[in-house]
Amino acid sequence: MTTTDASARALQLNDQGQLRHFLTIDGLDRDLLTQILDTADSFIEVGERRIKKVPLLRGCTVVNLFFESSTRTRSTFELAAKRLSADVLNLDISTSATSKGESLSDTLLNLEAMASDMFVVRHSRSGAPHFIAESVTPGVAIINAGDGRHAHPTQAMLDMLTIRQHKQRFEGLKVAIVGDILHSRVARSQIQALNILGADEVRLIAPSTLLPSDVESLGCRVDHNMQSGLKDIDVIIMLRLQRERMEGALLPSEREFYKVYGLNTDKLAYAKPDAIVMHPGPINRGVEIESAVADGPRSVILNQVTNGIAIRMAVMSMAMGGQRAQKGQDAEVRS
């Protein structure tokens, strides 16, 4: 546990234990994670209506503050905010003031002066959303859309929703996370969520060079072999090989990686016959996963994308509700 995680826990809940920010899974309890999943379930139904909108965030301004490129996450956050009836501002950081030398604090002050209610933050530096949550005016909610190697909590929750849809429960489940654990903020958040929600076992399958040095502290079984690693597994989560984060020779070659750790039909047979296959995307076909598996009947990769909108709607509405409930209570205390 880092200091960042410890203070994030205190920061992201209000006095009544409701979500105000969503920075990390770490420290949240099972009831709150289950409430996020249940609320998301209700939002899935909204996506099937003729008018796919509810008025919860009507009048709110949500700013997508992406300091790192992303298509899927940004799009699903934008769609989620719009389905909650919020006004959405997508800030292209590559052409924004920060690239002209303005500090992050000044950029935030300017955005707050535009009466923003929520910032969805993606940043290459771990802890950036936490820093922003500490800096902004009370009442503004911060949602972490991925920070450095630290956390990607909404991705982990949409994965949990997908698992629950297909397996109905977490108890007794064995989940394998395969590939580049070292650089993966998604894997860290997934491991935390699976442990909190009561999964039986989380197994990490990766070469030693792609495992973090503190892997023992994650409470997972480690395997370097797909045949033994996938035995009795209910859920296989393949991770993207993060070429852009590779420093030094962590792999002999992508071809070699695929040969040993890439998921193909033959290796899938080691897992349980009803095991599902997940991937947070974007997929490197032929590097982490074979097309026949990615597009096959046991793949739930596109379900994950659909669930991403519902989870982000749930988290955004719960955080905004928590901010307002806190504000209402503060006003009552003052009066």
């Binding site: 249940d38 379930d41 209700s42 209506r49 003729r50 008018i51 008025p55 509405s317 905004m320």
Partner: protein, 178 residues
Amino acid sequence: MTALLKVDALLDDLEQGLRRILQARNIDDPVLIGIRTGGVWLADVLHKRLELTEPFGELDISFYRDDFSRIGLNPKVRPSHLPFETEGRHIVLVDDVIMSGRTIRAAMNEIFDYGRPAGIILATLIDLGARELPIQPDVVGQSLSLKANERVKLKGPDPLSVELRQADAPASSTGQGA
């Protein structure tokens, strides 16, 4: 807490009132929608009594409440379920208690997000008055006038009963004031 009303008698009145209004408006294929939680229990009973063949719908208005900005999101929200097209249909909307009218406003907003119905008939078991919006039920089991510290609650689903509570008891979801 005391038993307040005979629910069976109120349900008889609701059923008769609904039959009359449906006949007067020449509606022979209505669909029922109950507002969670009490309205769904009542819709279930009325659905059987009216011998409707289409399943009834269940509405959770949590995403449409106008007090979200004060109290946040209901943590027990569940998906609404309307197993029929609402476009062009005659809808009977059912709730246990009407007071301010805000719950009904929220419910109608939600129904319109599924499609434009031909019309909506509102049936409530108890009318407490104290309206804050110009919304009136078409059929009512009984109108009540409560003291400031009194609340009513429908308990159920089997058996259904209406209880009177003193306000100093913990408030629960009754549809009052929302």
